[in-house]
């Protein structure tokens, strides 16, 4: 094609879902959009010039680069599958600063670093409390390092797994997104790590192992505020977690995100399956209730209400599941159920007041309760 060159974009990731679904936007030198699609598409033919390439990376972060397209030449842009910055930019590619940052994480527990100073070998050093695990419920635990644990589910699951951590004087109870349906540890586990942060705050973060790459992407999309521009990716990943990978906790995360964006209605069948097949997971039943509340059939609305009242006697897995439950309990269009809804609201109020709303998995400060 005269006067044109080619742009080829690929991603280093094994998951077929991610290979085909990562969103891609190409802009010309005036920053006008000239191509929107996914990374797995065919080569893009463009007039000679500079182009910005924006890709949602496998960790859910947005990354951008500027490339120069020349006539009759092919520019190849390879998106790293991990979360590390490339040591050197690929030829013709400059990765924008901040595109890849830190390990993928799900939940953050904000804990101020100790400002005290200690003395080691004659030099003052910062003293940071090391997190300890106080208790783990409905799961087994392997301590990987100081301030790092891997959790595996108990089978069969009867409730959401939780763990209580101590960091300094704080006590925090976290719901854990382990997957009891998996038969391999790398598909079943979740991790929690104490990680230092650049703003002087130590955090406990929940993350997914490499085998749960779609969950990592979902969590990353949330963390990077990129979910709304990757709805198709969200939907594909959630469907795969439901149908192919038997990962109900991962699917619930995707479904909650889609619901939060107003995009879950066409996928009501998934949600019904999630609620029916995994009754130990309140988030699925809360989602099912949310869709039922909008039904024009009174029987479906009534069933949804019962599902909501039943689900809200238990601790949700995700912070967003708690948010949605509170909204539904407040606003359910049925006066007769007001006393029952009020009772559930009272029961959830402790979570709500002390929840860390930045954490994807429900993380509640229980310092006072533990004492």
């Amino acid at each position: 094609m005269a006067g044109r060159g080619q742009l080829n974009i690929s991603v280093d990731v094994d998951s077929p879902v991610l290979q085909d679904s990562l969103p891609l936007v190409v802009r010309d030198a005036h920053l006008a959009v000239v191509h929107e699609g996914t990374v797995g598409g065919t080569d893009i033919y463009l007039p000679e010039g500079l182009y910005s390439v924006e890709v949602t990376a496998p960790d859910g972060a947005l990354s951008s680069s500027v490339v120069r397209v020349r006539t009759h030449e092919t520019v190849r842009v390879r998106v790293p599958g991990n979360t590390q910055l490339p040591t050197a930019p690929p030829i013709g590619v400059t990765w924008a600063g901040g595109a890849f940052r830190g390990p993928p994480d799900v939940g953050d527990l904000f804990i101020r670093r100790s400002r005290g100073l200690g003395v080691r070998g004659g030099s003052p050093v910062n003293v940071t409390p090391v997190a300890t695990l106080v208790e783990a419920r409905d799961c087994s635990v392997l301590e990987l390092s100081a301030g790092g644990w891997e959790f595996l589910p108990e089978k069969p699951a009867t409730t959401v797994a939780t763990a209580v951590f101590a960091l300094g004087r704080k006590r925090v109870e976290m719901s854990l997104a382990v997957n009891p349906e998996a038969n391999r540890a790398d598909l079943a586990a979740c991790r929690v790590d104490q990680v230092p942060d650049r703003d002087g705050v130590d955090r406990l973060r929940m993350s997914f192992p490499p085998g749960r790459s779609l969950c990592t992407t979902l969590a990353g999309l949330l963390r990077n505020n990129a979910a709304s521009s990757a709805v198709n990716l969200l939907a594909d990943a959630t469907e795969a977690l439901m149908s192919k990978y038997d990962d109900p906790t991962g699917a619930a995360l995707g479904a909650l995100t889609l619901h939060g964006l107003g995009r879950l209605n066409p996928r009501a069948t998934w949600v019904a399956n999630l609620a029916r097949d995994f009754p130990w997971l309140p988030d699925g039943r809360i989602l099912d209730a949310a869709l039922s509340m909008k039904s024009y059939k009174s029987l479906e609305r009534q069933a949804g209400l019962q599902s909501l009242l039943s689900a809200t006697t238990r601790r949700p897995l995700y912070t967003d599941g708690l948010s949605l439950a509170m909204e539904l309990l407040r606003r359910w269009p049925d006066e007769d159920s007001a006393p029952a809804r009020q009772e559930r609201l009272d029961g959830l109020a402790d979570y709500v007041a002390y929840a860390d709303w930045d954490s994807v998995n429900l993380s509640v400060d229980v310092t006072d309760r533990e004492r």
Binding site: A29, L31, G262, R331
Partner: protein, 383 residues
């Protein structure tokens, strides 16, 4: 009575943009000599910048908002400033009389606003609330109104509005197809919030049927009053929002909009960073987005924006001084001063910087980069 808070723009035809703006700093039944027992028990104190922030947002709508497909037609403004709070002068001049944001006024004006938005499905709607807030999770928010704490109304949340509930009500067939909502609230401390969380009774409009094309709801919550309002008396979020709307969140033409514009996605990507920058690590303020989060154009620009471009040299004292050439799109020469750092102002877009060196330096640089609003700072290395 309703005209007191209605600002109308003459000479616009449907479809149009309607706006509903509420700012509450003054809580007479919770703080001060008229406080009631009910109001005092929640420990709510007057704010300093919510009404001013709402007035500044109104001023932006009246003076800067640009959307040829749906020009601004009306703004309903309900403000409850505290004594001494400076409301935007141009807005104050256009209000017939003070219009405090009481439950009754909010209920009445919101119903009129909803009717106005329903008059044409291609209308656009803006909604902005600022004040004390509770239940500020990632899905919803209650904002306390001027008469929060008033007695004799049957429930403790009479003087509050369920923002997410009203948002959901407006997300209905036939309503303005594009709506954008902002809740800018000062969150209560946990021991105070604990008393609110299980209460019901805040104002919520009747649920509609169906869905509009886009209706994102941005929820900003500040954990402390000190972080809520400190930029010249306006809230941190309102400051960030206005910067974003004035160009910091501008993106180039797309299939949906042929002009430079601010859209749902660009606001999402910009607002948290702007808030973080304004707070400079002193506090945390989190912004969540929910609702019907589809892409919509919130504001259009008549001309592509100019941006500040700065490129630093590493090492900065390299001799002989390297010579830089700045090319728009890799081909159009942009005049620049020969000194370092390179500082210029030009059209937003993609540039190529070529840096040539002379012995003893041997390695120059070629750097493609993006200059997006409000500007960029790049670095090139020679050796």
């Amino acid at each position: 009575m309703g005209d007191a808070m209605l600002i109308e723009v003459a000479g616009v035809d449907a479809p149009v943009t309607h706006a509903f703006v509420v700012g509450v700093s003054d809580y007479p039944f919770a703080d001060g000599p008229d406080a009631t027992v009910v109001g005092e028990q929640f420990g709510i104190t007057n704010l300093t910048g919510a009404a001013k922030s709402a007035s500044e947002f109104t001023a932006w709508l009246l003076g800067e908002y640009h959307n040829p497909d749906a020009p601004l037609a009306t703004v309903r403004v309900l403000l409850s400033p505290v004594d001494g709070e400076q409301i935007n002068g141009s807005v104050a001049a256009r209000l017939v009389q003070p219009a405090p944001a009481t439950r009754e006024a909010v209920e009445r004006e919101f119903a009129d606003f909803r009717d106005a938005c329903r008059s044409n499905p291609h209308n656009v709607a803006f909604v902005y609330f600022a004040g004390h807030g509770i239940q500020l999770n990632k899905r919803g928010a209650l904002v306390l109104l001027h008469d929060f704490g008033v007695t004799g109304k049957g429930n403790k949340l009479y003087g509050a509005i369920d923002v997410a509930g009203c948002h959901d009500a407006m997300d209905e067939n036939g309503n303005a197809h594009h709506q954008i909502w902002f809740s800018d609230a000062c969150r209560q401390l946990p021991d105070v919030a604990r008393r609110f969380e299980s209460l019901t009774g805040a104002y919520v409009a009747d649920e509609g049927v169906g869905q509009v094309d886009a209706s994102p709801l941005f929820l900003a919550s500040s954990p402390r009053e000190s972080a809520f309002a400190e930029v010249e008396g306006t809230t941190i979020f309102s400051e960030a929002l206005l910067e974003a709307l004035r160009g910091h969140a501008a993106v180039g033409p797309s299939p949906e909009c042929g002009d430079w514009h601010v859209c749902t996605t660009s606001l999402m990507r910009t607002l948290q960073g702007k808030v973080d920058a304004l707070l400079a690590g002193r506090e945390e303020q989190n912004i969540a987005i929910t609702g019907n989060v589809a892409e919509m154009v919130a504001h259009r620009f008549e001309h592509p924006p100019d941006v500040d471009i700065v490129v630093d040299l590493e090492p900065g004292d390299a001799v002989p001084i390297p010579v830089a050439e700045l090319l728009f799109n890799g081909e159009v020469d942009v005049p620049i001063d020969p000194s370092w750092p390179v500082c210029t102002r030009g059209a937003a877009g993609l540039y190529l910087l070529n840096v040539k060196v002379a012995p003893p330096l041997t390695k120059g640089a070629t750097k493609p980069f993006q200059a997006a609003p409000p500007g960029c700072r790049e670095r090139v290395e020679v050796s």
